[in-house]
Symmetry: D2
Subunit: 401 residues, 4 copies
């Protein structure tokens, strides 16, 4: 028997790992295979071609590395930069903090641009730095598209605008871990040089593939990067791409077939419809939060995230108790507040293979928990606000019309 | 790709087949095995012992026949009765109707006691018949514990009381298809002679096992029954029980392991806790219906069902449209109104491996659908009413305290 | 942990249930669904159309009943015949015996034509009976295509020839349980009126669907049959076929998707290639038996079965010990000798989703077991004989050329 | 449908990834979970405790990193050594070559001790180096326990003996990728400082966990290592071990449950029994090779590997053709010859969840392929030789006695 059995389905609303669709679970339910047989390269080839679509890139080169988002970060940095390189990086929450920590430990020279948690990247500071950097000492801009800890989405088109304005050649490295396949993301249009995500996020797979897409400019940069790396070295991949065997070391057979199924589902729904669905889920969540009389950790509408909402609780409540209670009484998994916002926010992840009624069940659960912990919520109020919006906006399911 | 893919989880709220717990899906994910090896009889032995617990019987003999509920009905009848035998049977909805149809086609002499759909079995008529039957021409009373079409639960203890009052030896045959493992059911205490259910109902398995439990009196009756049967003949099972090989023909290996897992989960939760959970789900649903200003098809509280609620819609609405819309827009599966109540009711099944937040998601969906079809529901009202009750009554999850 | 764990794969060589292909396991790894939604009828429609192909019938009407082969037998008999009807039935082994037992218990008047176990149906006797039956008192001929207990395949085209020769209108009812999808079977060409199989045989699914195909003549006969039946009544199916909802009661969702996958695999391989593969497996097995110096229970080559081989052991050996030892030492599942041939034969089932190297592993195992039990086999001899044949005949795998 | 469907089971005899046991597939067939809930740390704790047993270590500290064997190598090196450190490394085949390549690219100063492919590590050279290194400039000895490309097992106890003889403090870093859980491996007894394997090898899981065990001395060394690393940094793990949350970044939920199941199976069989089983499989394979008149790539018995056998083919045969044919005609997956032995050897992997009859099926297949490609093998000869040995040595299955 499992460790902590509870009747019914676990309501998984952490911002990753997220719910896996049944067809993907089915696709992964298989024995190992020889990855050097003709079958796996043939499969890999379709994946490399199709995975670019989730980045909206036609010119990029994808890498599907057996690692996590943290490894994908490392791959992005060590393949394009050299020790001592100056980079500008935005600290706006726990995940950007961790990436900056990695950047520093990898011996890059990081200009940290900090914002209050709940705000987006301070692009005014970026502009100043770019304006002052006529000598192009800045080698890269590192930014999270969506900060998972605070539910803040940064405006990447603005970053590109500034780089272009100052004709600055810095690479643009983007953490799309909690955005890609869920938020509007346009690698080619926005001139992103490296974008990355993890399989357990909006792709709705198990953890295990760090998916990276590199622009031609990033690939060019990788030729001269002197950062030490082997496992994460793109060169080994590129060598095997040429050979047509694709893998410098053993991939997970199950995840490859799972990724195939996941992409098929995304394409069947349509990437733009997937993004629209996340937009509905995000908006509905925020309407519920408002109806409860609570505040969004995200301070301005322009930064609202459609994949995760961090909810501020009144000071007399410990948000960790909300998360514990969700799990212990309602079989609901919510995200904790991390680091600076520990105890102050709880997070509702609304990304990946999720529909509106699942979200409404979660919101109904949150209402009961809020009451449990002494917050005077009006039961049903959040669901009502969310439903009023959703009932107007949910489209018919195309395959069932 | 599946036929009718939609993002997120299908919300399955028909009164069967119901949601299968993940541990059960896992247990069934296996190759076939030789059912004559020592492993399958050993497994079967534990199942036969443990399956009696879901009937609350220690004296009964269970049969796990590879069939559906319809086959289980046929097994109950043809093993205990002989053609021409007089039986009393209650017509209160579509499933009791189908069972009566079967009884008649199997050449029994059926006294049909009809009630309006939405009412329980008319036990006053039963009492009259018993009172008049000093000669014991009535060989069996056939009754559904829970009529799935109307959401009506009959009072079996009352039936036993009447049989005892008149010292009547008629067999008591009970369809427990939508009650056993969900409603309070006491085979031994209530003197039920044959009780039966199907694996796809509250046991939360796939369809494929008709589970029957026969009292010693029923077994005795089976020795003299002259009804023609082979596949459903208990004698063949009893012969193989004695041999210790248990199976007169090939069982489903997967369902046996699945049943083992399903029973383990039920016992881990505790049968009485399972029943209490269904009681919460039923009550919460009825509170929502009331808040919406709609009527329960079940006419009196004494018959309210904790496994399925049939909701009457205003005459200007076609309830089938509600069910269609649920599926086409919200990935929600509701039960149609059947036969006499077609177009007039839709049904919410709330049985099996289900928790409160799943139900609240469903109720939120029903509210939006009601609005879709022109009923002036106040969004959030049903969820609020249900939540207010649930927030007071949901226990902590024992494995997580 | 499972009851009787052993390292590596269980070598499943009983003549059913057989090995399930991974794609079929995957297809069945799913939650329940509402069988009244549009998805399941749409799926069912494709199944009913395609399942006819395994019978090589274009004019037949298929029924996919949630039951076993025993239930499929009962369905064939009770839908086409009436109590007291005279039928000719061939007793050539345990399964024909069981069918005859069923025929008798269902009150048909059975002319049993018995052969020694190891011989085919005595068609000379059939001819005499037909010749003498100018009054057409014989209503049906019942015959197993392949007797699973002895590994004997009957010549159905000969039966048809005799019926035609005598212009006899008797129905031809065929048990194809261990033949269909494995042996050459031609329902329409041979004028079979009812053919049937079980899902756990050469279709390589779990147990749970009795698949029956009825000729127009059989359907016509069903209109006047007075046998008592409800669960097995084709009329209920035909009624729901007309409604387009297809199911008079709840099917197994998992088996429907599994059947879809199983048929897809069979069609991808090509039914004739499937039959050729079974022919190779059968021949290879017989060559091994010969090399071991043992006798096939089947007495003449014309009756040799390509799905199961019953091997006679010397009188100083108990064949049950071979089966026990296979399981206890080699994780190999062989078939027991049944009834008259108990202790005298063991059976190698070589049907379903199986390839040549799997069979050779089994044969190597049997050699070791024979040595274990004191038979002076030359190790490797059977494998050598089988390999010599197979190495000449195995085709390239079309999808891999 | 899958890309390259073939009937029956794929015979997977590459030396990794290997066959996954059904109970492990079942354990992994699950949705994602919140890895910050109490359930995953509780599970992780049992894994960290139990995984040490496969190393035969009580004093080591294990790390289960979401990566492959290549990443595990990198973790072992970068956590214990600093750039410029002198290490002695043995080049005896493709995998030791790749590790040395990594060592060099990570800027270590590698004394490469090369042997002819087919020979073990030259420990005489090691002795000379140790004898000459009074100043302890050698910081580590890097050695593969089992070279997967040539099927050569090195004598680790001898390495320890030499280190002790010269009282040399160099760290002993061991690649146990194709040995641990299959060959006799004694981390504590042999004074191994870092040992590592990958989940897809003898543990019989999918690819995705690099499992490393570090001795107290290795942990001590990690405190002063200046190699640049973040993803592979043990310090991050140790920090989360102390917190009791265990994971610095997201693990694969599925692999954790899979590892639990895999360890349970290994412990149920008994690690020593697992090793004995591999010994039988290795010996049987070598006997077959000998019977075919072919040579083992491994030049001396002391180096024979019980997990993989590389078979030399006559010069007129291209061993790649054997591998291709195995896959195209027999659904058998064999290992290619790599690099220096490309075209000259094919490899039979006989590790992981595998039993004797599976191996015999493979050997029978190899015989047919040898004949296909023009080698005058006597069909059955290898199987006979292997069987003769196995029939004497296979024990009864303990759970079935």
């Amino acid at each position: 028997m499992d460790y902590v059995y509870a009747p019914g389905k676990n309501h998984l609303f952490v911002p990753g790992p997220v719910n896996i669709p049944e067809p993907v679970l089915r696709a992964m339910n298989r024995n190992n295979e020889d990855y050097r047989s003709p079958a796996i390269p043939a499969l890999t080839k379709t994946l490399l071609e199709d995975v670019k679509k989730i980045f909206k890139s036609t010119t990029g080169t994808p890498f599907m590395i057996p690692t996590t988002g943290t490894g994908a970060w490392e791959s992005a940095l060590t393949n394009t930069l050299s020790p001592g390189d100056r980079i500008v990086s935005f600290l706006i929450g726990q995940f950007s903090l961790l990436w900056i920590d990695q950047q520093q430990r990898l011996n890059f020279n990081v200009d940290v641009v900090e914002s209050e948690w709940g705000q987006g990247a301070n692009l005014d500071v970026l502009e100043s730095k770019l304006a002052e950097d006529g000598g192009h000492t800045i080698k890269a801009i590192c930014i999270v598209h969506n900060e998972t800890a605070t539910g803040v989405t940064n405006d990447l088109s603005k970053v590109r605008f500034l780089l272009d304005k100052y004709k600055h050649p810095a690479l643009l490295l983007v953490d799309g871990v909690s955005s890609i396949c869920a938020l509007d993301f346009r690698m080619d249009e926005w001139g992103v040089d490296v974008a990355l995500t993890g399989s357990q996020k909006a792709l709705s797979l198990p953890t295990g593939i760090g998916i990276i897409c590199a622009s031609p400019k990033a690939l060019e940069a990788s030729k001269t990067s002197t950062s030490v790396k082997v496992f994460f070295d793109w060169k080994d991949y590129l060598k095997f791409y040429k050979l047509g065997t694709y893998w410098p070391y053993t991939p997970s057979i199950q995840l490859l077939y799972g990724l195939r199924a996941a992409l098929d589902l995304l394409f069947e729904e349509g990437i733009d419809n997937v993004i629209a669905r996340h937009s509905r889920l995000g908006k509905a969540t925020r309407l519920a939060v408002e109806a409860w009389g609570l505040k969004n950790c995200t301070q301005k509408e322009e930064w609202y995230s459609d994949t995760v909402t961090a909810v501020l609780v009144p000071s007399y409540i410990d948000s960790s108790e909300i998360v514990r209670r969700a799990w212990k009484r309602y079989n609901l998994s919510l995200g904790l507040g991390l680091n600076k916002v520990a105890g102050k926010v709880f997070r509702i992840g609304h990304l990946g293979n999720l529909n509106e009624l699942q979200l409404l069940g979660c919101l109904a659960g949150v209402e009961m928990i809020l009451k449990d912990v002494g917050y005077p919520v009006k039961l049903g109020s959040g669901v009502a606000a969310a439903s009023a919006y959703l009932q107007n906006t949910i489209p018919l399911i195309p395959s069932r019309i």
